[in-house]
Symmetry: C2
Subunit: 289 residues, 2 copies
């Protein structure tokens, strides 16, 4: 079964409203007046990290991508659980885990450690407490809203290439993404839709538009990119973990994001980039499965 079919099948058995977490970044759960946000992301050896990569960086990223899902919900992290498969670099994994948890002040709550062979799969579950209820989703963008992004895209792509080609250039953005936790909490009360950019701006914008039933018109030249000569690649490459959000045009913003487009009523396609409509998601960014 490919991933799309599997997730569709999962969705058919998920009757709970929180199960939108299957498609969305994280699930939200009401608990005694609090809104608990919970997310689980896995990474597979050879697929989500380069062979021979420092396992300290892998641990960092494993936690950071989950914290990024909390950030997109405006949630404050409560803790993480780690599902670890033993293998090379375990001591470095522990070291990277310690660093990322200390950096973001997140407690390690538990997890499971298993032996294995073949490509290792690592999992992380992150729990958070939402500052605003209902939490932001992908589905709330309204025609007339503006589209924003919190930072530069393509840095992870350049970092990946530096690491892969051993150029010695800075690869931090790829190895140690910084979840936008403070930005997410500040933005949550005022956005109409929000998500983190894990699979590339274009694909994630397409998804946000589709979930909201609107069209996002993006001006590619307004998007801050790490390499202007490779602008389109920067818009398609994932792993930057900036936040993509929409907000009413008149809304005062608590930080200074980049204004990259507008939300329009549904037209022929979810995404319009520099006037060109994209009706299919295929080819826009990183596709799983």
């Amino acid at each position: 079964m490919n991933e799309q079919n599997f997730v569709a099948a999962l969705r058919s058995i998920a009757t709970h409203r929180a199960a939108r977490g299957l498609a969305d970044d994280a699930a939200a759960l009401e608990l005694n007046g609090e809104t608990l946000v919970v997310t689980h992301d896995a990474m597979v050896e050879g697929r989500h990290w380069l062979p021979g990569q420092d396992m300290a960086d892998v641990a960092w990223k494993l936690v950071a991508v989950n914290l990024s899902d909390l950030a997109a919900k405006g949630a404050e992290p409560l803790g993480v659980l780690i599902g670890h498969t033993l293998g090379d670099g375990d001591a470095r994994f522990i070291e990277g885990l310690r660093e990322v948890l200390e950096t973001y002040g997140v407690p390690l709550l538990g997890g499971d450690t298993v032996g294995g062979h073949g490509a290792r799969t690592l999992g992380c579950t992150a729990l958070g407490r939402a500052s605003r209820c209902p939490v932001p989703s992908r589905a709330g963008a309204q025609p007339g809203d503006r589209v924003y992004v919190t930072g530069t895209l393509g840095l992870a792509m350049l970092g990946f290439e530096a690491l892969r080609d051993r150029t010695g250039a800075d690869s931090t953005a790829y190895r140690r993404p910084a979840p936008r936790l403070a930005e997410g909490r500040a933005l949550a009360p005022i956005v109409t839709a929000m998500m983190d950019i894990s699979d590339g701006l274009l694909l994630d914008a397409w998804r946000l538009a589709e979930a909201s039933g609107v069209t996002l018109a993006i001006d590619g030249n307004d998007v801050p990119v790490a390499d202007a000569a490779r602008r389109r690649e920067c818009l398609s490459w994932g792993d930057d973990y900036e936040l993509l959000f929409t907000a009413p045009a008149a809304m005062a913003l608590p930080l200074e994001p980049y204004y990259i487009g507008t939300v329009r009523p549904w037209m022929e396609a979810p995404l319009v980039l520099d006037g060109e409509p994209f009706s299919q998601a295929k080819g826009l960014g990183y596709q799983h499965g």
Copy 2:
């Protein structure tokens, strides 16, 4: 790194009190007056399930063992997240997942689906709400308490053998363990210590005793077993997911468990079985890593 060393290293970076979940069945977290219980268990192909086993049963067990961890904390399940690696039997996996979630009335909150090769790793995170705070732990057994178990041990062993040897005998106990959720909730207010038996009675009793700083004296003949001719094997085999607990001798119990021993002040070993002391955990049950 072996599992023991890895977990010891993890523990060194886990400063939060909830991090006892690293060793214990599940972590407890206070949230606005509620006690949230969270646990993550993984299963590895060829290690936690037989080659060719029906993936519907694997899905059932993946969820059930996590619910069993909630049961040991007296917690009511709030939902699960599934980390799935795609492969053979995905449709059956979905079917088993649907069955176990419906059976226990547990919503699917989310998760992640990844491609992979080699032995697959599946993960499950379960969230629950505790009925009693602080939640039961392994560490509270007091000298003078009685030791109890909620049901018969060795059924999973017989089920495993039936499945492995294709005898046609009933293998349900191995394939589809039943987490003792109702029993756990009923017992939580009155136990001094509680855990689920995943790695065999003797090993888990040894662990509970060591965590509590006491000695558990167990009378092997008082333990209900599935095959009296193989009593010692039934006491050492895991996967039964009954609850092991201690309670004051005078305490009225809300159900009728089996009274299998007594808690004594720390003697020369954590476990005494029929008068024989066991100072080492090695050889008592299923050892990971």
